[in-house]
Amino acid sequence: MLKLSNVEKSFAGNDGLIPVLKGVSLAIDAGESVALTGESGSGKSTLLHIAAGLEIADQGEVVIDDQELSGLSESDRAQVRREKIGVVFQQFNLIPSLNVSANIAFQARLNSSFDAQYVQHLAESFGLQDQLNSFPETLSGGQQQRVAIARSLAARPKFILADEPTGNLDETTAASVLDEMLELVAKTSAGLLMVTHSNTVAARMKRGLHLSGGHLA
């Protein structure tokens, strides 16, 4: 269970602090998929970052599997990230110095859940078997996102947090990447929180949340 309670977050602006999240609470169970929508600048990404332990909330609690993140040291938070969270971003997901197979295996190796067969399986599922030795810079955008998603799955996280994973792709590619992603996530028991501005994408999730004026609706 990934649970946020009364999370508040502000950023420094030109005229003092600008509150972005004003007491947000949400809970995602294993196997559940949730879409998070909202206007540009409404704080969707911030909420996702906080959920992933990449950023710290000013107020409120973030609990992943009974662990409260804000009370942890940076290295403990990093460990939670390694072991329980998979992240997929809109861009710059990949480590440019490593090839595709090393990228897919990276987090899995970090948290010692590496399983060569599973990695192979994921690569095949995403149609990446011929690209395993290529470097990210030689891949198309769709392929790069497929690698990123495969990587997040390879580490067997409890939750996958995705921030507009198909936002940078053309419509056709976006649709097929999303299909592949949802299909494979469904095979695991991972919970999925996906930030998106597309209603089509949101509609594919089990549940939808809308962030507006710092509050969830």
Binding site: E74, V87, F89, L98
Partner: protein, 799 residues
């Protein structure tokens, strides 16, 4: 300046206002590169400028001398008669007053600058002649007290050896109570016509200049070392300037793009950027020249002392602002800046107006560049080998050095990539795998800095090896040549015989010193008589010799030759030479003879006397455990004045002290070059820092802490530095070898043996590590403290 230009300029310059640290970095980079170059140049040109004066400095052995064969000194009337007949000679009175050796000279006729001290520096001719000034070392002042000195003006100068005092000849006459001159110095410049000595002063004996003091060539050798250092610091400096300019461009790529997009003409923009960079380069260079001046001023007294003490060459020890060095410093900085800028301007010109504003690595070497570098390196290496095999001459030596350095630098990125890939393939952990892969990816961006580090470390290894080898060799040489504890001069045959008898009874061993110029194998040589004894057999190190060399020499069937002679004559051990009387003898060994331009053959005393039956030794060396007692005994038994006997220990000690100063200079230059290389690294790392964020952000997001990443960055710098240091060792040794075995032989005809100094190299490595560590600290710390926000921005949707 029109509005457009001004607006652009303000936009460009606002970058520096907002990032003063970058401006400081840029200026500092240029300044220290210029400082290093101009510092070395300053020392060099100052030393060279003083060289002519140095060559003319009065020195015991530098000039031929006239001595009275009856041992009674030279009368004033004889001196005047010689002068009136055109002989350019100058009188010298020498004697002891207590512990102090008093040397009286005539400043008006003495050749050269006499005392090693320019008279007008401290003493006018007026006071030297009129008031009786005495020039001496500050520590000797206390000894020069008492009634005799009351009326005299004591002037101290550290350039004069301790326990030595120079004064006008009339003062010396009074102090020593002696009217006749000890000897006359024969100037090297003589008029067109003058009668033979035998026809006007048959009572005088012409004693040729001795080789021991003829060390002018060693001075040149030292200059050469400094020149080599200058060359290397130049190379390192160019790298820095290049790096600094690259940094300035990369940081403002976005601004430049925007300005173009807003309609600023390309030509205007490039002109503006060029003006801006060149003005900044000028500023940096001026700061560097000022810095260089201080560096040189701080080092020069040591350099001066080194040259003077070691070689008897005179460098004033005061730095003047010579145009050749500050102009060259400025030229290097500006030229380096212009060169580096040309490439960048070219890339601006080619950059599409709407190219991505994101900075791209400024020196990402494509496969093409790398191939091109490797090909050039290979070509240079082949050229170096060809030069080594077929070339000769000093220029070739330096060219060889240049080829080798450039080839090594060009080869470095490729070599490092291979090494890193090797390690990467053998690393197991996921983090270490990524670490090495990432390090490889940094290589193109860091390669300039790493090349600079390679050159700096190699240069330091090379120069340290050379200087230390030089010292070791020279100390050994001094030990061997200045073995006798006491040297005794006698005036005539009768005294010579008596002295020989007295020495055989009172000294442990007698060394006779007799030489004659002759022609052997078509070359002018000095034939040196040698009475082979324990000193020779034990202390003399032969560069090469037959096992029974000393026996053959003693028996008269063999001769020893110095290296200069055999190299010039194309002979080697085992070859025969024909002596002036037609007899053939075998070269049974070769001795190192540093700083001597002349060929020399050592023959047995008996053989010498067969060749020159009229000769007898006028100079002896004595081995003894108690020089003081021996001096008194000889004075009592043979009647030779104690002033004619010199204790060589003090001379030797002084020479050795001077070497320590050479090391101060070398060490200082070591630290300087390494700090320059460290700075190059710092700048490269800073340039890369912004580019690194997108590369590191995913790793962080996947579960590595910022602190871990910072530690890894530091480790990376150290790993690269370590690899470069290892690679620098063979390069540095190759450089040293070229300097010692090729350049030195070409320049002076003798080869310096090369020794290895692992402890020195270890220390150098340590310094290099420190430099790399210091350089990497700040960027690593910055990374560890990057706010998560900055990392997250990479992923943000709204960019």
């Amino acid at each position: 300046m029109n509005t457009l230009t001004r607006t652009c300029f303000v936009a460009l310059f606002s970058h520096w206002r907002r990032n003063p640290l970058q401006l400081i970095t840029f200026l500092t980079g240029l300044a220290i590169a210029t400082a290093l170059w101009s510092g070395v140049q300053a020392i060099n040109s100052e030393a060279r400028a003083s060289y002519d004066a140095a060559a003319a400095t009065l020195d015991e052995g530098q000039f031929d001398q006239l001595l009275a064969s009856d041992g009674n000194g030279v009368a004033l009337s004889t001196y005047i008669m010689l002068r009136r007949n055109g002989w350019q000679v100058s009188p010298v009175i020498e004697g002891r007053l207590g512990e102090v050796r008093i040397i009286g000279i005539d400043p008006l006729t003495a050749p050269g600058s006499l005392t090693g001290v320019e008279l007008n520096e401290q003493v006018s001719l007026n006071s030297f002649l009129g008031k009786g000034a005495v020039l001496t070392h500050p520590e000797t002042t206390s000894v020069l007290s008492g009634k005799a000195f009351e009326q005299l003006e004591i002037v101290t100068n550290r350039n004069i050896a301790p326990k030595l005092a120079f004064t006008d000849i009339s003062v010396a006459q009074r102090l020593l109570g002696q009217s006749d001159f000890s000897r006359l110095i024969v100037s090297n410049m003589q008029p067109l016509k003058r009668p033979d000595l035998s026809s006007i002063a048959p009572q005088l004996l012409l004693q040729r200049a001795t080789q021991s003091a003829d060390l002018g060539e060693l001075t040149d050798s030292f200059h050469l070392n400094l020149t080599a250092f200058g060359l290397l610091s130049f190379a390192v400096g160019i790298f820095i300037v290049h790096g600094a300019i690259g940094l300035a461009f990369e940081q403002r790529r976005g601004t430049i793009r925007t300005l173009r997009a807003l309609g600023v003409p390309l030509r205007r923009l490039t002109t503006l950027v060029a003006c801006e960079i060149l003005s900044l380069a000028f500023l940096g260079a001026m700061i560097g020249i000022a810095l260089g001046y201080f560096v040189a001023a701080a080092l020069l007294p040591d350099v001066a002392a080194t040259l003077r003490g070691l070689y008897g060459a005179d460098v004033t020890g005061q730095l003047s602002l010579r145009p050749e060095w500050w102009a060259s410093g400025l030229a290097i900085a500006m030229l380096g800046a212009a060169l580096a800028m040309a490439g960048k301007l070219f890339s601006i010109a080619r950059m599409p107006v709407l190219a991505s504003p994101r900075p791209r690595a400024w020196a990402i070497a494509t496969g093409n560049t790398r191939r091109w570098q490797a090909a050039s390196a290979l070509l240079l290496a082949v050229l170096a080998l060809a030069l080594l095999a077929y070339g000769s001459g000093l220029t070739v030596g330096f060219m060889l050095q240049g080829c080798l350095l450039t080839a090594a630098a060009l080869m470095l990125p490729l070599l490092l990539d291979r090494i890193l890939s090797f390690i990467q393939n053998r690393s197991n952990g996921v983090v270490s795998h990524w670490f090495w892969a990432d390090t490889r990816q940094q290589l193109p961006g860091l390669s300039l800095a790493l090349m600079a580090l390679l050159l700096a470390v190699a240069a330091n290894i090379g120069v340290s090896t050379m200087v230390s080898s030089f010292r070791l060799t020279f100390v050994e040489f001094l030990d061997q040549r200045l073995a006798p504890e006491l040297y005794i001069n006698v005036q005539n045959e009768e005294q010579s015989k008596a002295m020989d008898r007295a020495l055989s009874q009172n000294a442990r061993e007698t060394i006779v010193i007799m030489s004659e110029r002759a022609e052997v194998a078509g070359l002018p040589v000095e034939l040196e008589a040698m009475r082979v004894g324990a000193t020779h057999r034990q202390d003399w190190k032969l560069l090469e010799g037959q096992t029974d060399a000393w026996d053959s020499l003693e028996g008269g069937s063999g001769v020893l030759a110095n290296e200069q002679f055999v190299r010039r004559a194309g002979l080697w051990t085992g070859d025969d030479v024909e002596l002036p009387n037609g007899s053939k003898v075998e070269v049974v060994g070769i001795v190192g003879d540093y700083g001597n331009p002349l060929g020399q053959l050592y023959i047995s005393e008996k053989l010498f006397l067969d060749l020159f039956p009229d000769r007898f030794p006028l100079r002896f060396g004595a081995r003894t455990d108690d020089p003081k007692a021996l001096r008194e005994t000889l004075n009592a038994e043979v009647g030779v004045p104690t002033s004619a006997m010199t204790d060589q220990a003090a001379v030797k000690e002084f020479s050795l002290q001077v070497f320590e100063r050479t090391f101060t200079v070398t060490a200082a230059l070591n630290v300087l070059t390494l700090s320059v290389a460290g700075f190059a690294m710092l700048m490269s790392l800073l340039t890369l820092a912004d580019l690194r964020v997108p590369q590191l952000a995913p790793v962080w997001a996947l579960g590595l802490t910022r602190r871990q990443l910072g530690r890894l960055e530091l480790l990376r710098a150290l790993a690269l530095a370590a690899t470069v240091c290892l690679l620098a060792l063979p390069l540095g040794l190759a450089l040293a070898w070229i300097l010692l075995a090729i350049v030195n032989v070409e320049a002076f005809g003798w080869r310096l043996p090369m020794f290895l100094f692992p402890w020195d190299y270890t220390k150098l490595w340590f310094y290099a590590f420190c430099a790399a560590l210091l350089a990497a600290c700040w960027p690593a710390l910055r990374l560890a403290r990057t706010p998560p926000n900055a990392l997250l921005k990479v992923f943000a949707n709204e960019r």
